[in-house]
């Protein structure tokens, strides 16, 4: 299971990198969103998968899955949401100011 998920993560990272290298801003933002997905999966895989019960005490199970990566991911999900939201608004404002969503055209003038 872990190996398969790891391979899936590799595909996600590849696609995310490809999108990040685009010149269209929407693709870049999308790439960063996919990259966060990949990293969340990576974190939970690192802790080992399905090695026990849900990490809530008082149930019938004796062993639990690793709770630490879950706590980290919970934080990461929220932060990446904040970043994506900020990116989106930044993109919106940039488009309003410079009138393009093409990074190539957003380059500063050379005579600075």
């Amino acid at each position: 299971m872990e190996t398969i998920i790891t391979l899936l993560i590799g595909v996600l990272v590849s696609v995310a990198t490809y999108l990040l290298l685009s010149k269209n801003v929407i693709r870049v933002v999308l790439g960063s969103a996919i990259l966060s997905h990949a990293i969340h999966l990576l974190l939970i895989t690192m802790g080992g998968l399905k090695k026990g019960g849900v990490p809530i005490l008082g149930g019938k199970v004796e062993t639990y899955v690793d709770a630490l990566p879950q706590a980290l991911i919970l934080t990461a999900i929220v932060i990446s949401f904040a970043v994506t939201a900020f990116f989106l608004v930044l993109m919106y404002r940039t488009y309003q100011s410079v009138g393009t969503d093409n990074l190539h055209e957003m380059r500063g003038t050379n005579d600075e």
């Binding site: 899936l8 990040l20 919970l74 932060i79």
Partner: protein, 804 residues
Amino acid sequence: MISIHAFILIPILTAFLIPIFGRQFPKLHLGWVVLPVPILLFSFFVSKIPVISANKAITGSVAWIRALDLHFAVYLDGLSLIFTLLITGIGSLVVLYSIFYLSKEKESLSHFYTYLLLFMGAMLGVVLSDNLMVLYLFWELTSISSFLLIAFWFRRKKSRYGAQKSFLITVGGGIAMLVGFIMLQVMTATNSVQEIIAMRDSIQDHELFVPSLVLILLGAFTKSAQFPFHIWLPDAMEAPTPVSAYLHSATMVKAGLFLVARFTPVFGGEATWFWLVSGVGIFTMFWGSFTAVRQNDLKALLAYSTISQLGLMMSLFGLGSAALQGGASTNSIIYTQAIFAALFHLVNHATFKGALFMIVGIVDHGVGTRDVRKLGGLLSLMPITFTLSVIGSFSMAGLPPFNGFLSKEMFFTAVLNAPEMSIFSMDTWGLLFPIIAWIGSIFTFIYSMIIVFRTFLGPYRRERLEKDPHEAPIGMLLSPIVLCTFVILLFFFPNLLSKYLLAPAMNGILPTYQNMEGFIPKISAWHGFNLELLMTAGVVILGIVLMNTYRFWNVIYDLFPEKLSLDRGYQWILAASESGSKKATDRYMTGFLPNYLYYIFGFLLLMVGGTLFLSGSIAFDPSNDASVSLYEGVFVGIMSIAVVGILFAKSRMTATLLNGLLGYSIAVFFVLFRAPDLALTQLVVETVTTVLFLLCFYHLPEWSKEDRSWKVRFPKIIISIGMGALTVLIALSVQGNKLFESISSYFEDSYELAGGRNIVNSILGDFRAFDTMLEVVVLFIAGIGVYTLVKLKAPQGGDKIERK
């Protein structure tokens, strides 16, 4: 003894108080506040003469950074004492002079005196430090204060140009010197100059010995304006005249000479040292005097003359270093006289050149120009100034009864001894020294005479002058009068100076010769009709002839076209380095985001991937893997198809929905992987994110097509696949190499430790509560960012104007 440290710091500390004084007493000329400082220091150092002349050195050390062997160590011996007396003595006179030279109303005096005091402290630090790193620190501080003083009239373009030039050249040399110091430190494992001197014999064959020697000399040559680094000094004349008199003739430019003298016990006797110091020195002496003659600006003339005189002293130090070759013996004692002459001339030069600068300042002040083509006939109008200029110039030309005559004769003796040296192949090349020295002296005579004759004699043409000439106030004349008195006194009583100052300094530079007969000569004005006297007579006769026939031979200067001058070279290097670095930077700083990401990803692939391979930590061990159920397999398939689909999506809507699909699939995985909290959060966040995307699309155009050419796509594909592969490799290796036990079992006691049954929630809300709190702060900041971006609008067209 702590007091010497204090005397270095007094000027620097006073410098900080000057602006306060300036504000408190706006009616007072700040010079009067500053004047007691150098006088106090001068009297202190004078009081040390008895101790030093008994061949004792005063040392002291305050620990600073022990781990780096950095101590604020001071060492006051004869050599440093000469310099400290020059620094504080001339300093007092210059401050006094500046009180009358700089107007209280027009000039920003608090800046001027702050910089001047800063320089004074730094210069004292240079000559008193025993620790290499502290020495370097003060050395650069003198460059900085010199920079500030040259640019004192910073509204003039030429001042800024001169300041920048002097700074670039002297600091550049200073950095070379620092590298040389570090090499010395590597060889000897100490930073103390005196300890290094003691270790001289053990480091001579070290492979870093000659490189460190050359680098330290680079520092000395740039500071002391030796050819070809002399070009900064004429431009430094844009500084106010008191500064030129102080820094650029009497003290700072002699720091290089000090360095050479200080390190003579370490490097002296080495052929490279001998040839570099004496060769560069003697050529600079000739070139400076030769160029000085053609100058029309009196200050420029003095600048070149200073270069020439510095070269003279430098060459003497070089010739004298030969005495250390093969140990001290009565045969080589004759070479030591060159160093004695250098030290003697050092003092003499400070007196007459300081006076001459002040005189030029007085002329400039009085008539409003320094151009010799406009000046003339000022004799009857400025009689005192004229008398002083005669004393200064004749001393510089090497005529009796002035101190310059004595040291000039000794200079001739030293260069005449040069061909008789049997070392360093001097028996063949040595003859060049007296010849070049003699030619240089002729030009020295000519430019010295120009100062007197073209300024004060000849026709008086009022219409060419800007002001009505008048004699300067007595306050302004006082300082040059004092200096000129010394010029004459030193001629009549040179042996007093020799006994109390020069002899201890000689013992410091050449300790092995101490107490030998003939080491400290008796200076006398009359040696009989010897070759030296004949040389002087030749200089005078030829000098007078050449001066009167100047218009016939001045075509010689056209042989050196302006285009090939060193100055042009400097400007070209400056311009080329500026445009070169701009070109190089523009090449990779494209302003195009994907390019920067290429650098980042490329670097990551090389470094992390490289380390992974080189350290051989790649491991693959699927034996612990959990089993794969049908659902999971299906969702892996769905996600793979969805994510690849994004790449081929025609519209952004499809892409966003596919991204949402990815998010929801991950939520499902979280359920399957026993993480209910994550699944819930992920569902909520993914929904909101998708809504945000769609909201944004309302305001944005449909996405443009990417460049489909292979030239663009190929590197993208390579980097993407590389990143994916690298992630997989790292993740698999981490799973395959279990290096230590998981720490997570600690949190399974969460009920006892934190009172919570949900372990994940206990971690977030209790064990790592600060993390969670800061996470909320991040959210808050992002929220503020979003709000500001949406609400605040730049004024219409505002940023367009800014960009222009």
